[in-house]
Amino acid sequence: MSEKRSHSHLKELEDEGIYVMREVAAQFERPVLLFSGGKDSIVMFHLALKAFHPGKVPFPLMHIDTGHNFPETIEFRDKLVEKYGVELIVGSVQKSIDEGKVEEETGPDASRNALQTTTLLDTLKEYQVDAALGGGRRDEEKARAKERFFSHRDVFGQWDPKNQRPELWNLFNGRKNPGENFRVFPLSNWTEMDVWQYIAQEDIDIPELYFAHERKVFNRRGVWLADTDYVNRMEEEELETKTVRFRTIGDATCTGAVLSDASNMEEIIQEVASARQTERGNRHDDKRSETAMEDRKRQGYF
């Protein structure tokens, strides 16, 4: 008997995640695994390896690249793809901008986060994807708390929270009409803490950004943003060198760092356990309005 049984809630979440992945592989023709290089999508890939062992993961990874990623993330992504020999599809927000499909935001808070939706929907369409596995968790945000495992999207990629399919027992209904697709969230029932504990338990490789390191940052309304070419720093926003790490990794323009000395998994778990802020508390994109996430999701966001 494997030692893992002592963490039985993680075991149950893992079994559930694997079950959902296999349902996707069985019920859909062209699924993809949305991969951002963040910890949730890394855990997802790890589950996929387990779900289809000793076979290969039967779907490609899809990265919607804002062009504003931390270089560490891209490096990590490419290494992983090479190591496991999986196919990678990249949808480029820059390309969407160049093609005139979306317009870059301006101003100090300019972000490409919202633009991703268009690129995502276009890329899903281009590859005729009928199910996109995402690392979204219900504990992240109040609108995500309402998501199903199998979340139906209409032909416009839109989510209608009032008209969701009831999800009973572990029976997932993936039937759809042509042109429609599903977002599937195997990590629905995981919390941030579960993800960290699981990464520690399984000894999963994650980008260095998650561990404490020195970095040039500046403070914008309480959020520590990294100094990159992509962020328009105002004159009054002073650069400082701080020991920081990231709790979530997204677009560099809207992902804040936290001041932290946690340089290994144990310390990270300690820190997460005593955190007084949610993981997304330092995501600028959620602070735009009270229902920012719901609004974005309705349009087809992750």
Partner: protein, 644 residues
Amino acid sequence: MSESNGQSNNPNTDNKYLDMDLLRFTTAGSVDDGKSTLIGRLFYDSKSIFEDQMEAIEKSSKSSGEENVNLALLTDGLKAEREQKITIDVAYRYFATPKRKFIIADTPGHTQYTRNMVTGASTADLAIILVDASKGLLTQSRRHAFISSLLRIPHLVVAVNKMDLVGYDEKVFNEIVGEFRSFAKKLNVSDITYIPISALKGDNVVEKSDNTDWYNGSTLLHHLETVKVDASDNIVDFRFPVQYVIRPNQNFRGFSGRVASGHVRPGDEVTVLPSGLSSKVKRIVTRDEDLDIAYPGDSITLTIEDEIDTSRGDMIVRKNNVPAVSNEFEAYICWMNEKDMELNKQYVLQHTTRTVQVFMEDLLYRMNVDSLTREDATKLGLNEIGRVKLKTSQPIFYDPYQVNQKTGSFIIIDPATNVTIGAGMIRAGSTESKSSKDTSEAGIKDKKTRQKSPNVVWEPWNIPRELREKRNGHKAQLLWFTGISGAGKSTIAKELERKLWEEGKQTVLLDGDQVRHGLNGDLGFSPADRTENIRRVGEVARLFFEHGNIVLCTFVSPYTEDREAAKQLFPEGDFKEIHITCDPKTAQERDPKGLYKKAQEGEITGLTGYDADYEVSEDPALTIDTDSISVDEAVEEILKLIQE
């Protein structure tokens, strides 16, 4: 499945397996009973609310002009929910204490969202039913308790909320507990805990309250942390629906899935359904290591010794423990769509990993979930629950829901819209007549499932009946006296037995009241329990019959089908049904047991011959109308019948 049951069959159960630390629960109650406030309180007092969440709630409470911070805002996340201050859709919440991790299915209380209650309850180990102490037990609480019972949630907590509004009065609490207890007798829930709380003020939610010094039980959180959740898994009957086939190369063919129930080891003899071909389990493969045993919930990949054609939708089971394989069965269905359920229309049924076409052949009745009575109906509308006969295009492999939730549940999908429109729970095998009405227990208590005993081999009688008959000097007989209470069954049977005794015959008289005091003391008077009552009596009568007796059975036995089932236990012609009848008025005047009086005074319901039907057999061996003939004449007629 009781825990001891599972244990005794599986001595090697790893203790760690039982050491579950994840509890899934659901909350239910009427609108404004305070569900969202309770969840907010659980989070707040267990320090699971983050600062930025709290800030957001405070801001939001202020902007909508509320005096205090509204903890309910923590859970009501959608725009429309905040506008209307109600919960529309099921939401899932997470929190953890050092002892356990919790997943809450936060379900709406509004009547029109019963389907969401069913959705939330389908994966729950425990349901919290909120009752407003200032209002007492309302319909909605009963409804939710019923749904919890129907879905077989093993643990119920009745949280009597708003105790602050009734001055923390012990009497108010006890009254609600008493009322709920007597109502719950009709349900199939064994573990109910009652806790007086105030979600608003925090009494007995996380911290023990000083306001209820008369209450000695746990706080709600302590109960949630300590209630045993491992007992609901069926770890006996191995069921493995094949989800996906993994075949990376010629040398490996694995069947992936999640163990629905039971356990499996390499070397176990298994059968693949529907082909029925058998083989042995070779390996239990996972990416980490091969396992030497797998339990319910484990996502694994099995390889088997022989090449058997197996694909998604098939089921691997233990060779000597197979589920029912049929394309016709009965189920409770909760309808979840605005469009009514239509009979004989083609729908899609999704069951384990198998998807087939299905027709609803018959709607036996609709359950009135407010009064818990059965109603005649021709259709099921949104949020209605009914018992339905279904027929599928291909067989499915199932167990009754009460024995196995994974293989006893299904969903109905509309092929036109692909939307999930119904949720079903498969009933135990036997069918029941549409006309049988019984309001006394609302039919909620299902017949105890007839567990098949696959390893029992029939042992012939030690001394055959023929030899016993020879020594007794007479044939064994089975006389089944049936009819409404007061018709005269017992009177005639007793007189007949005395006569036979005097003639030196071996006799046994089995009487309804006697067996219900002992053998069948666990059964009530619902149609299902009555069926089981007659089934057991039939089996006992058969034992006496095989031992050479003239067996006299006196049972109301109102359903033809049940009497037919008993008849099947005996050699053709040896089971003689004697229908004792009279004018119902005569029976009510006789009223030998005072039952009619009780029924007239409303003390009991579902009395056959009064407010429940008696089904007359088409062709009884004898019909005796006691309005027109005397006891002695009746006995003479029966003696003539058995001497033929």
